[in-house]
């Protein structure tokens, strides 16, 4: 177990910069999920920690030691790969025990540790099989066992669940979290799936285009997204955005159509400052036409069983509303939308950064601030 420190790390391939000045501290025993779309550099960051890629500039420290020049085997990390990377010609037992064999452990000790590890992930009956004879979920377990058996200081997961079907993914997600709670090794988990990220993480790292957008607990990032990018990326369905400008006199945001959306408090911004107003689908409520903040036309209603996804159009801007009611609405009908002022997010139209206002602070009190 160890803490990981990433200091001003840059990675370039030839002239292409993959990652620019990334700083991140991962605490001892913490489960950190790096979340981002494909090509954002999240896997590269993981591979830099593992030692599978060279660091162009900056430093990576594991347990206080600079590991830039160390080989992967000297860093004490274990990794679970996306395609599992099991050795196809070795049995499950040989796969799990390979690291111990390389380390030169006596056969008897190796065997007992392989059996114990296999038991902990439910593979006891499959030890003599080859990877080709296993199902996706079983292969995933072998990959996990192969990492666990080494008792590594750090666990690295590179999208390990993306090859599994939806049901198995949820099951393995729980299992990974359970194993982490047992052995409490520092874990870094890379994924593009926000559900995976939200459910697994102690702390979430949202990446975009080779930089870190925001670091924080899943709840904090959901409540207070630091940028319009994070706001749109976290949360499903995605947050709605409406362009407009600040009106000091009217204590609100004037949308492009001239509609006023009142705010709970006055942000410290000049009159006419261009902003994007954000509201999550689950926070906007449907009301009678004319009774809400704005009126919108119904485009399509999607039935989800427990709830309904109302796809609306507000002056050609699509707005999505998630409601647990069963409104009787036909396509083309006009409906009112209410934006509770304390649920409104504001983002600077130019920089894309969050505009802090008093209401944000209300939500931040819900948890202990975490130093980043």
């Amino acid at each position: 177990m160890a803490e990981i420190s990433i200091r001003n790390v840059t990675k370039t391939y030839g002239k292409t910069t993959i990652m620019q000045g990334v700083n991140l501290d991962i605490h001892n025993g913490e489960f950190v999920v790096i979340l981002g779309p494909s090509g954002c550099g999240k896997s590269t960051l993981l591979r830099l920690i593992a030692g599978l890629e060279d660091i162009t500039a900056g430093e990576v420290l594991i347990a206080g030691e600079v590991v830039n020049q160390l080989e992967p085997r000297e860093r004490g990390c274990a990794m679970v790969f996306q395609n599992y990377a099991l050795y196809p010609h070795m049995t499950v037992a040989e796969n799990i025990g390979y690291a111990l064999k390389v380390a030169g452990l006596p056969k008897v000790e190796r065997q007992s540790r392989v059996e114990a590890t296999a038991k902990s992930v439910g593979l006891t009956d499959f030890l003599d099989r080859k990877p080709g004879q296993l199902s996706g979920g079983q292969r995933q377990r072998v990959a996990m066992a192969r990492a666990i058996i080494r008792s590594p200081k750090v666990f690295l997961f590179d999208e390990p669940l993306s090859n599994l079907d939806a049901q198995l993914r949820v099951q393995m997600r729980h299992e990974i979290r359970r194993i982490h709670n047992q052995i409490k090794a520092t874990s870094v988990f890379v994924t593009h799936d926000q559900h995976e990220g939200m459910t697994l993480a102690d702390r979430l790292v949202v990446m975009n285009k080779g930089t870190i957008e925001q670091v924080g607990s899943p709840a904090k990032i959901y409540d207070n997204p630091a940028s319009i990018y994070v706001a749109g990326f976290i949360g499903s369905p995605a947050m709605n955005f409406l362009p407009g400008h600040i009106s000091v006199a009217l204590r609100g945001v004037v949308l492009e159509s001239g509609r006023l959306v009142p705010l709970a408090s006055q942000p410290n911004l000049p009159d006419g400052h261009l902003v994007h107003l954000g509201i999550r689908p689950e926070h906007a409520t449907l009301v009678r036409a004319g009774a809400g903040t704005i009126d919108a036309q119904v485009d399509m209603i999607e039935e989800l069983g427990a709830s309904r996804l109302c796809n609306l159009l507000f002056e050609d801007i699509p707005i999505c509303v998630l409601t647990e009611e069963r409104p009787d609405l036909a396509a083309g009908a006009t409906v009112g939308l209410d934006f509770p002022p304390q649920r409104i997010h504001l983002f600077d139209a130019v920089t894309g950064r969050r505009i802090p206002n008093d209401l944000a602070l209300v939500f931040e009190k819900r948890e202990q601030p975490i130093s980043v």
């Binding site: 599978l52 992967p72 085997r73 990794m79 990377a85 050795y87």
Partner: protein, 293 residues
């Protein structure tokens, strides 16, 4: 196995005809002819023949020169195969690990495959010539020590080296393709598991190469039995003292220089059966150890 049925079509037949004609003219016809000749006594200048049954085979198999030819053919086949495949594997691993200059020799190593066997033999004439070749430097240190027209073992060594040199290219391409088809994440997983490059080679790459290894073994052994004529003819001419009189070369020498068409035909049939038997043995006993993934 699934089967597909097609309707007969004149266009398909017409398109197939040239290839079928070539196969027929250059393989089935001569093979049938050789089979017929092997059981008859053929007159060198044509004009009548006599059915002799297995006499030709009896004669060939009781000829001590023939058995020494078989012996040297086997030595040649094994030595060239081992040499060519091990060289090819080493080179392919260098290229796979992208050691310095790999791009240049990745191309250069493929070239020898495009060179015809007689040209290879001729080129090695210049290398091995005791008076003027590269090896003549040995003779400046130890006068008269190197002379492949005088010492049988040197002549055999020379054709083995030339033959292997020609076959390296083919094996190299296949080894390289096989190495590069091993997923990179496997190598990385082994690196994370603590295995150094040499260890990874032994535990991971070599076992995963076994299907390729087996394929190349069959191809190389077959090739070195049947495709060695050009090298022997230009490099040693079968000598000295019949030391490099390989089976294919002896067929040519007996048939076209000795005008013993029937004996040569019998030898062709034996060689064909031998190669078939070897291939069968390899599939039967060695393929079992191959991991197909």
């Amino acid at each position: 196995m699934r089967r597909a049925y097609f309707k007969f079509s004149w266009i398909a037949a017409a398109l197939l005809a040239p290839q079928l004609l070539i196969v027929f003219v250059f393989f089935y016809w001569p093979s049938a002819q050789a089979l017929y000749w092997a059981f008859t006594l053929e007159q060198p200048w044509g004009g009548g023949n006599t059915w002799v049954g297995f006499d030709n085979f009896r004669q060939v198999l009781s000829d001590p020169y023939y058995w020494s030819s078989v012996r040297v053919s086997v030595i040649y086949a094994l030595a060239t195969t081992v040499l060519a495949m091990s060289m090819a594997l080493i080179l392919a691993m260098f290229v796979d690990r992208q050691l310095a200059g790999y791009k240049a020799y990745r191309v250069a190593i493929i070239w020898p495959y495009a060179v015809a066997a007689p040209a290879v033999g001729l080129a090695f004439q210049f290398v091995f010539n005791p008076g003027a070749g590269l090896f003549s430097y040995i003779n400046t240190i130890a006068p008269g020590w190197w002379d492949l027209s005088k010492y049988p073992w040197q002549a055999v060594t020379a054709i083995v080296i030339a033959g292997a040199w020609k076959q390296v290219a083919y094996s190299f391409i296949f080894f390289l393709a096989a190495l590069q088809s091993i997923p990179r994440s496997l190598t990385e997983a082994a690196a994370m598991d603590g295995a150094r490059p040499l260890r990874r080679m032994m535990d991971l790459q070599l076992p995963l190469l076994t299907p390729t290894f087996f394929f190349l073994l069959v191809i190389n052994i077959t090739d070195s039995f049947t495709d060695s004529f050009g090298i022997v003819d230009t490099l040693t001419g079968g000598g000295p003292f019949r030391a490099t009189d390989l089976m294919v070369y002896k067929i040519y020498a007996d048939g076209f220089r000795g005008f013993d068409y029937s004996g040569a035909a019998a030898q062709s049939i034996i060689l064909m059966l031998l190669v078939m038997a070897l291939t069968f043995v390899q599939f039967r006993y060695i393929e079992r150890r191959v991991h197909y993934t």
